[in-house]
Symmetry: C2
Subunit: 586 residues, 2 copies
């Protein structure tokens, strides 16, 4: 990736700097073409991010400029620290929903406290990500199975889409608690739909739909270069906003027809904010911040990994924790709210030719110029248009198509998906997500808690021992070989104890029981305790317990304890063959 100098010390130093700032390594081979490519991608993303930032902030119950601010300092920081060449960081839909849900439990919408709470949330998300880096806890995302993520994302996207319909229809009613109430309110208020607002929304939708599906082709036919045509086509949301603002201004839709608009956007760069320190307030926000951090990190790493793989490269999850952590701290102190790497914009960034995080720096510059000079263009955007932008962005996330095939493939996963989806809608994003995680882990343990156990016998005169149910083998009623096909740990010890005692209860002549450990590569303390008890219980009923085929690492583990002494007169045999020959005359 970079030239190595002959001076070892200098190499180490350079590498260290380049580990901290991956951009430095990329800049070494940076060329004019790379800059052009990065600039185009950065500008296209900026043009997407301006309307999306406003719309997502609005979704979180925040003023539109907070969404724009979330695209400035955090992006500069990610550009310096990020290890993904084309991840597009900034405000994202699901995190915005989660911020809205969390903040509205602590403050009244529209108050100073509401805004401050959103910023504190960004601060906490940043701190949590950095702690996850320091404690090497990035693997916490492993707790989120594919089914949980699909169920969660689909339900969250559905909640988001439904929450925006009221703006599309121009309805006015207070924010409900949870999805069922929101849906009920929405249905109850449908008769009060404002037709003017709905028409405005439909025009915005038409503009965006046409831009997305046909504009590039039309422009290409008109002689426009493919690259330019593609870039212009991605500006659909921008066209929709500009059109909406123009229509409102032109026909005084807000004053004459009561079309709702978001407040004005103040011009100027975001100011530095000091945040109030109140530990009990922070503590109450902690669970929400933890989930926003996890979900944001997961989304960023997933899309970052996918984009890097295409180049046979890898992102470094640990570096991403640092980059996203500081990006969120940047958001917190510049009047913004939690950010993450967004799925849609990252795809566009990559497809538009982003080669390095210079593209992020360009995007951030674009946003900064926008808030400095172009806010009059976005004077009081109509809420209906922002609603349409949000709906168009989240609809592709609703993906329940796989339930049927998942059901066939693995019932437990399908059940997890359905329960997560339903719980998010019924009980909210946080409880829903946690229920999904708990269920997926419970079902996993449930599956692991019934390992396969086989009684084995000798195959002919060979040294092989096989399951008596599948092979014609020799056995001896005084002596039994039992193979357990799973590691021994707390989730299955009770089952194994039960099964072993059941086998013993059926064999009145039994004197020796040999547990064959060829498939056991790990024993935890619960299982050790169970083995001790099993040995005692067997002894009291006149049966001696032996082990055979114990793997090296397991034997090392057992030697740390007094189990092998306690086992006497039972023994540990090297192989099943030896055990059965010595004990059972087989």
């Amino acid at each position: 990736m970079h030239k190595q100098t002959t001076n070892g010390h200098s190499v180490a130093k350079t590498n260290r700097l380049e580990t901290l700032f991956p951009l430095l390594a990329w800049l070494k081979t940076y060329q004019r073409e790379t800059l052009i490519s990065d600039s185009i991608a950065g500008l296209i993303v900026a043009i997407m991010l301006v309307p999306q930032g406003m719309a997502y902030a609005f979704l979180a119950g925040l003023p539109p400029q907070m969404g724009l601010y979330a695209g400035i300092v955090p992006l500069f920081i990610y550009g310096l620290l990020g290890s993904s060449r084309s991840l597009a960081v900034g405000p994202v839909a699901i995190a915005s929903l989660m911020v809205g849900e969390a903040v509205s439990q602590h403050a009244q919408a529209g108050t100073e406290l509401y805004l401050a709470t959103a910023m504190v949330l960004a601060l906490l998300v940043g701190i949590i990500l950095l702690l996850m880096y320091l404690l090497r806890l990035g693997s916490l995302v492993n707790f989120l199975s594919h089914s949980v993520i699909t169920g969660f994302t689909s339900a969250a996207a559905l909640m988001i889409a439904v929450s925006q319909i009221k703006y599309v229809l121009g309805l006015e009613f207070p924010r409900g608690h949870g999805f069922p109430e929101t849906l009920g309110n929405l249905i109850g208020h449908i008769p009060q739909t404002s037709l003017i607002t709905l028409m405005l929304a439909l025009s915005a939708f038409a503009v965006m739909w046409f831009s997305k599906n046909h504009l590039a082709t039309v422009l290409a036919k008109l002689g426009c270069s493919g690259l330019l045509a593609g870039s212009i086509a991605k500006a659909g949301p921008m066209f929709a906003i500009v059109l909406g603002v123009a229509l409102v201004e032109l026909f005084q839709l807000d004053q004459a027809y009561g079309v709702s608009v978001v407040g004005d956007i103040p011009a100027g760069l975001p100011a530095f904010h000091l945040l109030p320190v109140d530990l009990s307030w922070w503590q109450s926000l902690l669970p929400a911040a933890l989930l926003i951090a996890l979900v944001g990190f997961l989304e960023s790493v997933s899309v970052g990994t996918a984009l890097a793989s295409k180049r046979r490269e890898r992102i470094k999850p640990d570096r991403e924790l640092v980059a996203l952590g500081f990006a969120n701290l940047g958001a917190a102190f510049t009047g913004a709210y939690p950010v993450a790497g967004g799925f849609g914009r990252s795809m566009v960034n990559d497809a538009s030719g982003a080669q390095t995080t210079v593209a992020s720096l360009i995007t951030a510059t674009g946003l900064a110029l926008t808030v400095l000079f172009f806010t009059p263009w976005f004077y009081s955007p109509p809420k209906a248009v922002l609603g349409v932008i949000v709906i168009m962005a989240v609809l592709p996330l609703i993906d329940l198509s796989g339930i049927k095939s998942t059901w066939r493939f693995n019932r437990a996963d399908a059940l997890t998906l359905i329960v997560t989806f339903a719980m998010v809608l019924i009980a909210g994003v946080e409880i829903g997500l946690l229920s999904g995680v708990a269920l997926s882990i419970a079902l996993l343990l449930q599956r692991n808690s019934h390992p396969h156990i086989a009684i084995v016998g000798r195959v002919g005169d060979s040294e092989h021992f096989r399951n008596i149910k599948r092979f014609d083998v020799k056995t001896n009623p005084c002596c039994l070989g039992l193979r357990i096909d799973e590691n021994l740990y707390f989730a299955n010890t009770r089952y194994i104890e039960d099964e072993v005692m059941a086998v013993v209860a059926e064999q009145p002549q039994l004197q020796h029981l040999v547990i064959i450990c060829s498939a056991i590569s790990f024993i935890d303390a619960s299982a050790l305790e169970t083995l001790e008890m099993l040995k005692d219980n067997l002894q009291e009923s006149g049966v001696t317990l032996h082990l055979a085929d114990v793997k090296g690492p397991v034997m090392d583990q057992l030697k740390q304890t007094r189990f092998i002494e306690h086992l006497a007169p039972g023994q540990v045999y090297l192989s099943t063959h030896e055990a059965m020959r010595d004990l059972c005359d087989l």
Copy 2:
């Protein structure tokens, strides 16, 4: 166990009845000797249970008669429904602590509401146990690893012992919130120790200690039969109570010296109680009830299993859920509080010769006679003596001796034990227990999330393929065999994806990657998704993914999906040998 009639229908019917009421089967072979044996055991347990019941009720903040009532109807019910011959059900120490903690959060001690809340808790525990039976959720106890149980039990026992010291010293201060406050209060009030109370407590301790350790020997020397001497020796707590009551009465210790006594015990059998139905109140008690049910069921099944194993018998955990469920319902409606199978009394019951649950019926009869006729004997027992009885009962449960050896055996288990122990003391029994469970599962997933992955090569000209790090094998830079030694599921998919891409990134010439699935017996939906993504990502970087050595059940699973079609041009090979021969010219 019982004679079978020749009439099949009748056999089925009888067996069904005997499944519901295990006692019926035992009564078929019941003889005079069995009755004598059961009666002796039942009476000994009754003599233990009278003082323990009062002391445990007191520990839960309840009047002493509630502890006695908990030994009547619930024991009759368990006697009819229980599948363990010698489990001694009734009030137990840790459940009493949990009841006290839960109830005192909802009601003022000493009020009617406090008593009603304890009964509702028994009702909920009963309902939960019966639901666990209906939903086949008995395996929920598998979530409690040995380390969690040891940490939890030790901390709970320590809390119980410390909570009783104030009565032993005759101190008066309000019940604190949590262990640290209780301990602080205790230490702060030590200067106010009442010497008379302390001496009373020490006398009770001396009586119990002597009974436990020396009385049997002394009686035997005096010519008493071994059985009788052993039985009398177990009545230590009873002697202590009677002595305490006598001393208080004789010297008017309560009025003249301010020695605290528990209120009088009303004579007469418990009345039938209707419980107030208030769903929101019930709901707030649900988490506590769930944990009390789990912990009680776990204790009962553990000791029941251990006792049954000695006879080469098994208890049926499902029947225990039913028996304990109804026993708790019985407790709820007869003015008692949650019950479980106790460790200490069950051991005594078994050792004293209990052959069937007739022993439980005898114990219950003994308790019923006590509340009918003998309450004057236990007139106003001094709190200090009850405190000593509780402390003596729980001290053996504090068992942290194994931490050191557990640490050597398995760090994760030792960590779980220590964290559970500390969290129970700091944050209370419920949060402590849940933290322990969460940590043990997290550490398990953490361990499982880094499976062993080996690059393999051909051993000589054989059909065997082995780890290139351990064997001298042939490989081909264009074609790689990768063996994954673990089932593929959500906890390890990201690691595996990462490792695979890392291997690929290091092999610029690579064209074919063969994943060897010989150790994979299960693939979940997350892993399937990862395989799909891996295939796409590899394809984009010019590498074709293949599978080899896929086990039958896994292949069946994959055939339910379109993965194998999507894999093309990648293929599924029967063996590594074939794959490497065809793809790699090896």
